[in-house]
Symmetry: C2
Subunit: 270 residues, 2 copies
C-alpha cells in the first residue's frame, strides 16, 4: 500500500487528472489517495506534511506527493526527504521558457478560476441552455444551439450534451427520436432547418436493451425487438439525411464528446 | 505567434488541461492551438507532422508539441527537429517507476474510457439524478442524494450540481429557497430530515443583481432590494440551522465544487 498526496494551491483538478492518468499505468500498486486543494499558505502545507510524515512511518514507504504549486516558495516546502515529490509546473515551466524564449509569469491566470467574465457567463448560459433544451419538446431555441444531438431514448444524448456544455461551453440541444419519427425514413420536419447542426448517436442492440431493462424491466420499451427496430430506423434516418453519427456502445462520455467535436470541428467556447 | 499542437492517442483531455495550465503562465505569447485526439496510428501521426512542419515554415518558430502518447513507438515519431516536444508520460513515468519500484504497464487502463462498467453506470445515473432533481419540486428522491444544494434563485446551484454529477459522479439534488421559505428563519420543513446532506450557496448582492438583471431586466426579481433581502434571509436560515455555506461571487464552478467536496468530505464516485 502506497500513499499519494495530491497538493495544489488551486483546485488541483488538473493535478489529480494527471496523477490518475499516470498511476493507472501501475495496476499492481495499491494506492491510498488524499487530496489537498487550496493549500496556499505555508501553515496549510506544514499541516499536510505532518500527515505525509505520519503516513511514511505507517506505510514504511515514502509517500508520493503529486503537486501543482504556482508559488515556488510553497513548492520548495514540499521537498522533504520522507516523500517523493513530482510537481508539474516544476517539470514543464523550464523547458517551456526555453522553447518560448521568455520567462513565465507565475502570478498570471489560473486555469480553473472565473477568468474572462464574459466567457464564463457564456459557459453558464450554455449549461442552462442544454438543460432547458434536453427533451425535443420545442424547436424554439434551436437557432441558438451550437449542436443538436439526435438519437433514440437512452442512447446517451443527455450525458453527452451536459458534458459538452459544462466542460466546453457548447450549447447543445438534444432531440429524442420518438416512435412517430421512426416511422418515417427521413428527418423529422422540426429538425430539417437545423440539418447542419445535427449529430447522431447510435448504439448496439444488446447494450441498449441492457440500459433500458435497468430502467424499466420487462417493458416493451426495453424489449430486444423494440431496441433493434428503433436503432435500425434511427440509423436509416441519419444515413438517408446525411447526419454524421457514431456508436456510443464502448465509449465514455469523454470519448463521445471529443470525437463529436473533432468530427464537427467545434472547439472549447471559454 | 506560436503554434501549439496537442496530440494524444486517447481523448487528449488531460493533455490539453495540462497545456492550458502551463501556457496561461506565458501571457505575452500569442498562441494558435490545434488538437489532435485519437492519433493512434503512425499514419495519423505523420499527417499531423506535415502540418507541424508547415507551421514551422510559416511561423519561423518551432511549434510546440504537447502530447500524451501511451504508445512509446508513436511517441518517438514526435521527436522531430522542427518542433519542441513535451510528453507528459515521458516526463513522469520514469520517476514514478523509480519511486514505486516497479515497471509501468503502459497497456493498462485509460483515464477517460468507460473502465469499470458499474462505476461508469453510477456516474450516468448521477447525471440523470441531478437533472431530475434540480427544481425542489419534490423531496421524493432526497434519500438517494449525496448532497442537496440550497440557495436563492441564480446563486449557482444548477451549474454546480451538474458539474459535480458529470465530473465526480455525485448525486446532487438542488433546492431553491423560494419567497415562502425566506419568510421563516428556519429550514423549510421538507429539508429538515436531510439536514446532514445540505450545503448552501450565497452570493454578493451586486453580483446577484447583475445576473438576475441579465435574465429579467427591470423585474422585481432582479431589483437590488429584492436581492439584498433574499440573500440576508437565506444566510439567516443557513446560519440558524447550521448548514455550511460558501459565497460563489468570485468562484468558478470548479472552485465552488472542489471547495464543497472538501468541506463535506465527499470524493469522486467513479
Amino acid at each position: 500500500m502506497r500513499s499519494v498526496f495530491y497538493i495544489s494551491d488551486q483546485t488541483g483538478i488538473t493535478t489529480e487528472k494527471l496523477g490518475t492518468a499516470l498511476l493507472i499505468k501501475f495496476p499492481h500498486v495499491e494506492l491510498r489517495k488524499d487530496s489537498f486543494p487550496f493549500s496556499n499558505t505555508p501553515s496549510k502545507i506544514r499541516q499536510i506534511l505532518l500527515k505525509v510524515r505520519n503516513r511514511y512511518m505507517i506505510d514504511g514507504y515514502k509517500p508520493l506527493i503529486i503537486s501543482s504549486m504556482v508559488d515556488p516558495e510553497l513548492r520548495k516546502l514540499l521537498k522533504v526527504d520522507y516523500a517523493t515529490h513530482l510537481d508539474f509546473f516544476e517539470s514543464f515551466i523550464a523547458p517551456l521558457e526555453l522553447a518560448l524564449d521568455t520567462k513565465a509569469v507565475m502570478s498570471s491566470g489560473k486555469i480553473h478560476s472565473i477568468g474572462d467574465q464574459d466567457k464564463y457567463n457564456h459557459r453558464i448560459e450554455a449549461i442552462h441552455y442544454s438543460l432547458e433544451n434536453d427533451d425535443g419538446v420545442s424547436a424554439k431555441h434551436y437557432e441558438e444551439a451550437d449542436l443538436i444531438v439526435v438519437g433514440v431514448s437512452r442512447v446517451g444524448k443527455t450525458p453527452t450534451s451536459i458534458f459538452l456544455a459544462v466542460n466546453y461551453g457548447i450549447k447543445v440541444a438534444n432531440y429524442p427520436l420518438a416512435e412517430d419519427d421512426l416511422e418515417h425514413p427521413s428527418l423529422p420536419k422540426i429538425l430539417v432547418p437545423f440539418h447542419h447542426k445535427l449529430f447522431g448517436l447510435s448504439i448496439e442492440v444488446e447494450k441498449l436493451h441492457t440500459i433500458r431493462s435497468n430502467r424499466l424491466p420487462g417493458s416493451r420499451y426495453a424489449k430486444i425487438e423494440t431496441c433493434k427496430h428503433e436503432i435500425a430506423a434511427a440509423e436509416r434516418i441519419m444515413h438517408n439525411s446525411g447526419v454524421p453519427f457514431l456508436n456510443t456502445s464502448h465509449k465514455s462520455i469523454e470519448e463521445i464528446s471529443v470525437a463529436m467535436m473533432q468530427i464537427v470541428k467545434l472547439t472549447r467556447q471559454f
